[in-house]
């Protein structure tokens, strides 16, 4: 039956993915990444774009944080807190869902 998982709680174990109605694309005219959603165009900043591009439904947040901490040689705890908060914010707005097994 219909029904995406609403109000998901993002943790390091989550495997986030963009739902089909949220599309991340590079806008050639304005030279900026945009996230397209119903009645909305968002302009995520560079870090958000980098994180969103990692949201493939396969990687979990733990792996994403490891990747970013290594890439920027930054404090893992701080990165984790930032990434989880950002993904939670996106999920609350309906721009992010969680990969799940098809059950029906």
């Amino acid at each position: 039956m219909a029904g995406r998982i609403r109000n998901i709680t993002v943790s390091e174990a989550s495997r986030p993915i963009l739902p089909r109605h949220a599309k991340l694309k590079f806008d050639q005219t304005r030279q900026v990444w945009v996230l397209l959603a119903p009645e909305r165009v968002l302009a995520p900043d560079e870090i958000a774009v980098e994180v969103l591009r990692l949201c493939d439904g396969v990687r979990n947040v733990e792996q994403m944080v490891d990747h970013l901490a290594a890439k920027y040689t930054a404090d893992r705890g701080a990165i984790s807190a930032d990434v989880v908060a950002m993904l939670q914010d996106l999920a609350d707005k309906g721009f992010l869902t969680e990969a799940r097994e098809k059950t029906s």
């Binding site: 039956m1 219909a2 029904g3 995406r4 609403r6 109000n7 739902p19 089909r20 109605h21 599309k23 694309k25 806008d27 050639q28 005219t29 304005r30 030279q31 900026v32 945009v34 996230l35 397209l36 119903p38 009645e39 909305r40 165009v41 968002l42 302009a43 995520p44 900043d45 958000a48 950002m86 914010d89 996106l90 609350d92 707005k93 309906g94």
Partner: protein, 402 residues
């Protein structure tokens, strides 16, 4: 419909003007950047006869509609100049036999597509084909929460039941759903039930849109105008529901401007961030703009590009920005907040599109308009003038969606 907004919450910025935020990021667009979203009114044909239809009173016949190839060229051109989203609307867009082909083409050229529909002509197969063609979002209009009133408003028997069925298919196909509820005096009492209906349908968004009074709705104003008390109650219900349903159902609310103190920033400002394309291919600053006489709107069938028409045509430049404004707008501190309100409403109510929108308390006509609305709300007949190609048909006694 609500004009698309940009929003940069991810970046932690909360801009009052999302378009400006995108523009300052190095847009190559000129003074007035190309809109992020465009409304394509594929046809004025529609099986419903809603008395507040946003189409002009002079409807375009099927024979003057752009062909499939012409619409495809339009979509390609829109994507090339930087438009990101396309809203397929009407009339009833599913009355076009080529809709799946057009949605597929929109997907092929990278446009995010939205279907704004009455839903009554859809089959599950058709909706499934649209989803396969890349349709991103479905918006279904509702006239009430139960068939007796809803079918009477739509002037179409069985409409409500069909809409509920299509809403279910939409979610079964995992497409996001917006419920658009057009509200007026005769159905405002159903608002709490309409909110519950949207929840039961697993809708993502609900637009509570009070009727805007131009064109057909202006002709039906006496039958539709709510009372001040109704509007206050509506605002209270919407605010409570917004708080209660945060994260579950997003509710957009369009206030009826006759009872507002400040006019709405109509279309985000004339020729500033929005245009729509009429069935015959005219590029318009607003879907009601053709009601203003004396403006010439150029078509995609002219020898000008869409970008040229947007940036250079007289009709777009006539009321753009603030330079055209007379007093009291000219020296008003809100002139870049609301851009003088709605040009179509100014024309309809004062006879001059260049006047201040009478919805504004600073308009010399505001008091008179407000009083008229109050009188109509209290004493107007409930009889509708149904929308059709014959210039409208008055509701008969005992009509129930004939």
């Amino acid at each position: 419909m609500s004009p698309t907004e940009a929003n940069t919450n991810i970046a932690g910025v909360d801009p009052s003007d999302g378009l400006a935020v995108l523009e300052q990021r190095g847009s190559v667009a000129e003074t007035f950047g190309i809109p992020l979203a465009v409304l394509a009114e594929l046809t004025h044909r529609c099986p419903l006869q809603c008395p507040y239809c946003s189409n002009p009173v002079e409807l375009e016949r099927g024979g003057s509609e752009l062909t499939t190839e012409e619409w495809k060229n339009v979509l390609t051109e829109l994507a090339e100049i930087g438009v990101l989203q396309i809203h397929f609307s009407g009339g009833e867009p599913t009355a076009r036999k080529d809709l799946v082909e057009l949605v597929q083409h929109a997907s092929d050229v990278g446009l995010y597509s939205n279907l704004i529909t009455s839903a009554v002509l859809l089959t599950r197969e058709k909706l499934s084909a649209l989803a396969d063609a890349g349709l991103c979002h479905v918006q279904i209009s509702f006239q009430g929460n139960e068939p007796v009133l809803a079918d009477r408003v739509a002037g179409f028997k069985g409409a409500h039941q069909k809409k509920i069925e299509v809403a279910r298919w939409t979610r079964e196909l995992d497409l996001p759903l917006t419920v658009n509820a057009v509200m007026h005096r005769q159905n405002l009492f159903q608002l709490p039930d309409i909110i519950q209906m949207a929840l039961d349908m697993d809708a993502d968004r609900l637009e509570v849109a009070n009727v805007q009074y131009y064109g057909w709705a202006l002709r039906n104003r006496a039958a539709l105008m709510p009372s001040v008390a109704q509007i206050e109650e509506t605002s209270r219900i919407v605010e409570q529901a917004q708080a209660r349903l945060k994260g579950t159902l997003e509710i957009d609310y369009v206030v009826p401007d006759y009872y507002a103190l400040r006019p709405k920033k109509c279309m985000g400002g004339w020729g500033r961030q929005f245009f729509n394309i009429s069935p015959a291919g005219k590029i318009l600053p607003c879907h009601a703009a053709e009601s203003i006489t004396g403006l010439e709107f150029l078509s995609v069938r002219s020898n000008h590009s869409i970008a040229w028409i947007w940036q250079n045509s007289d009709a777009f430049n006539r009321y753009r920005g603030t330079g055209w404004m007379p007093e009291p707008c000219k020296s008003c501190e809100f002139r870049e907040v609301d851009f003088g309100g709605c040009r179509c409403q100014a024309f309809a109510l004062t006879g001059d599109a260049g006047n201040t929108d009478p919805a504004c308390t600073l308009s010399p006509m505001h008091e008179q308009i407000f009083k008229l609305a109050e009188q109509e709300a209290a004493g107007g007949s409930n009889r509708f003038l149904y929308r059709n190609f014959a210039g409208g048909t008055l509701e008969m006694d005992g009509d129930n969606g004939a």
